[in-house]
């Protein structure tokens, strides 16, 4: 049973990585939010299992926090934002999926190489997955770079946060509770501010295209 559960940590880690790739390749904003919700759920499940296997009870709390924040609150906020902004069915066309995927694969290899020596030093049960966590962070990073619309950029930002939370679980037995609470609070406030912000951008430019935001150049 225990070995089955510790295997399932790896399974959830892979799910996280696959979802990160799926997000990179996804053009439709609504589907992107669904993928993000799934990623949050996978993260919460992985945290829960690590907590159960190691007997670190504060990880239960961390899993609950992730669930409430990443699976319930933030997706609800995002759905409301895209509904009010009327971008629910928006499709982003201006990026090349195969090239982005290839760059993504290179990033994953890079992340695994970077994490390999350090993962061996970790005492956590999920140490093998540190490379995956770092890969998720870098893939979200890539997504933020290639996307030209505000909502996908924000989702990239949030999914980077997912990767970081998973890194904390994979490398250590979870950050101290107070720090984790603080981070969660920052993320929540951040997403609220971004929400306000998207309305301001929309009001000003009649569009959520970030390419309007490239006027401030060095002359």
């Amino acid at each position: 049973m225990t070995s089955l559960l510790s295997q399932s940590i790896n399974l959830f880690a892979v799910v996280l990585l696959v979802l990160a790739f799926a997000m990179i390749a996804q053009r439709r904003i609504l589907t992107l939010i669904h993928l993000f919700t799934l990623q949050g759920a996978a993260l919460a499940a992985a945290t829960l299992i690590v907590g159960y296997l190691t007997g670190q009870h504060h990880l239960y709390f961390s899993a609950a926090l992730t669930f409430v924040l990443k699976v319930v609150l933030i997706p609800i906020l995002l759905h409301r934002v895209i509904l009010r902004l009327n971008v629910r069915w928006d499709v982003e066309t201006l990026f090349n999926i195969p090239t982005t995927m290839l760059i993504g694969i290179v990033l994953v290899i890079f992340a695994f190489n970077l994490a390999a020596p350090i993962a061996g030093l970790s005492t956590s049960i999920a140490r093998g997955t540190l490379g995956i966590a770092l890969a998720c962070v870098l893939l979200s990073f890539l997504m933020m770079i290639v996307r030209a619309k505000a909502v996908p950029q924000v989702i990239g930002f949030l999914s980077m946060e997912n990767g970081l939370f998973f890194a904390a679980t994979a490398a250590t037995s979870g950050m101290p509770m107070i720090v984790e609470l603080g981070i969660a609070f920052d993320v929540l406030v951040g997403i609220l501010i971004l929400g306000v912000f998207m309305f301001q951008i929309r009001e000003q430019f009649d569009s959520l295209d970030i390419r309007h935001l490239e006027k401030l150049k060095e002359d």
Binding site: L114, P117, I118, L121, S122, T123, L134, V137, F141, M144, A150, Q153, F157, M160, E161, L164, A167, A168, A171, T172, S173, M175, P176, M177, I178, V179, G182, I183, F185, D186, V189, G190, I193, L194, V196, F197, Q200, I201, E203, Q204, F205, I210, H212, L213, E214, K215, L216, E218, D219
Partner: protein, 484 residues
């Protein structure tokens, strides 16, 4: 009675109070009063530290030592003078129709919270909380940068949020790696991220983990410091936000971010013992100084130009701390202090000058001395001070940095001298016609509060001629603590 409690409670309380108070008649006064209370509490805290030495509070979650005590006072002081400056400044902005009552409420409330978050970041002993407070300080200022709702300000704020968010995420990864090293060395739990505990057993931390952690921490917090190549948010945010915010971003937030880097450097130095962190900081610092100096000479917007000057000076400090050793560290700490004072003074003068001209473009600002001699002289003296003219304090710190560089890293000095020369020619050449000559500027509707400008410049002058013994003692102790 714990003065630290008041230092942290006043600004947070002020943020709530001003949010409730809204844009009534006395909101500006209330803002200044809360900042004055914070300053009083931090002076009290300083007095206690002078008397009893470093202290820790509340189960070691917070601490005050020679490295952060002067930064706390400096932050509270510049926070207070900026609140004085912002009273007439924001009133004029409202008369010009740029600020609505809702925006004024946001400005005052967030200004206090911003100050509070910086003070939390400075005094916390927990590196995780340090991260949380740094991120919170960014979040409080994002909506202030876009407060005018112009296309340019929205763009600046979006860049600020996204770039700093990505940067700070890297710092979080670095913090996680640090926690991993700490877990192996001193066991996990709430104490494992306390800086004082980590510093005691820094040689036990795993060097391999720490070198990777420091790369992430330097890049992450370095984004906030404004190090090239992750500096892009800084000039936009400074130029497009309201001037009081530019002043506190330049004078305070950048310092707090550099302070975070220094705390991490102490740990990395202890674990690595190969000088890698120092060399990385020398590299980033030098590139930053040179690139910023050349960008600076191409600017047309006065606030952008001084924002690049801030990047240049932060690079110089990073370079100094990278060199390490008692003298360069001393110079770096002194430079942090005088740069904060002088740069905020310059932004105060520049803010009013831009209001008179109705534009931030330097060619529209002409002959300040004719319309208001105080703004003109403030800008002129401030520029001379920031360019490192004796007898201002910037001269003393730059002189120390350069002489140490000649001894420790002679190859770097030509780059530094060229960069400082380019910056001098650019800023001096631009400021001169702005101050002297014929004018077409309008007088202001409300008398500006220019006392802060001259108080700041007076203090910078004093630090160039005479450093009080306790301040000197802190700098020396902190310089030893940073080591390197």
């Amino acid at each position: 009675m714990d003065p630290l409690l008041f230092v942290l409670a006043f600004p947070l309380l002020g943020g709530v109070l001003l949010a409730l108070w809204g844009d009534r008649e006395r909101a500006g006064d209330l803002n200044a009063a809360m900042s004055l209370l914070t300053l009083a509490a931090s002076v009290w805290l300083t007095a206690i530290v002078v008397r009893d030495g470093p202290l820790t509070a509340w189960g070691e979650w917070f601490f005050v030592d020679p490295l952060n005590v002067f930064l706390v006072t400096l932050t509270a002081f510049v926070g207070f003078t900026t609140s004085l400056f912002s009273r007439p400044y924001m009133r004029i902005e409202r008369d010009h129709g740029k600020m609505t009552p809702g925006r004024m409420r946001l400005f005052h409330s967030m200004y206090q919270l911003f100050n509070g978050m910086m003070l939390v970041a400075l005094t916390t002993n927990n590196l995780g909380i340090l991260w949380v407070a740094m991120e919170a300080a960014t979040l409080t200022t994002v909506l202030l940068v876009s407060v005018y709702r112009t296309p340019a300000s929205l763009e600046a704020a979006w860049k600020y949020f996204i770039l700093c968010g990505v940067g700070i995420a890297q710092a979080l990864f670095g913090t996680i790696l640090l926690y991993l090293a700490a877990e192996r060395a001193i066991g996990g739990g709430d104490e494992a991220l306390l800086w004082t505990h980590l510093a005691q057993s820094k040689h036990l931390l795993d060097p391999e983990i720490l070198s990777l952690a420091f790369v992430f921490l330097l890049l992450g917090y370095g984004t906030k410091v404004g190090l090239v190549p992750v500096h892009n948010w800084l000039p936009d945010a400074h130029a497009e936000g309201p001037t009081p915010i530019s002043a506190v971003l330049s004078g305070l937030l950048l310092n707090v971010a550099l302070y975070a880097v220094l705390r991490c450097k102490v740990l990395a130095d202890g674990a690595l013992a190969n000088g890698l962190p120092g060399r990385m900081m020398i590299g980033f610092g030098l590139v930053t100084v040179v690139v910023a100096a050349f960008f600076l000479s191409r600017q047309r917007d006065v606030k952008r130009m001084f924002a690049y000057s801030s990047i240049e000076h932060m690079g110089l400090m990073t370079f100094a701390f990278g060199l390490g050793g008692p003298i360069a560290n001393f110079a770096g700490l002194l430079h942090m202090t005088v740069h904060a004072l002088v740069k905020s003074a310059i932004f105060f003068a520049v803010g009013h000058a831009a209001q008179k001209a109705g534009s931030q473009a330097m060619e529209d600002i002409r002959g300040l001395l004719k319309v208001s001699p105080t703004v003109g002289w403030g800008l002129m003296l401030g520029s001379l001070a920031i360019l490192g003219m004796p007898p201002f304090g910037v001269f003393a710190s730059e002189f120390l940095i350069l002489t140490t560089a000649m001894r420790e890293a002679p190859w770097a000095t030509p780059f530094l001298l060229v960069a400082l020369g380019v910056a001098f020619a650019a800023i001096f050449g631009r400021v001169q016609p702005m101050v002297f000559g014929e004018t077409s500027l309008r007088p202001l509707a409300h008398p500006p509060a220019l006392l802060p400008v001259f108080v700041h410049l007076g203090l910078a002058l004093m630090l160039g001629l005479y450093i009080p013994p306790y301040l000197d003692g802190w700098y020396r102790q902190a310089a030893l603590m940073i080591g390197g």
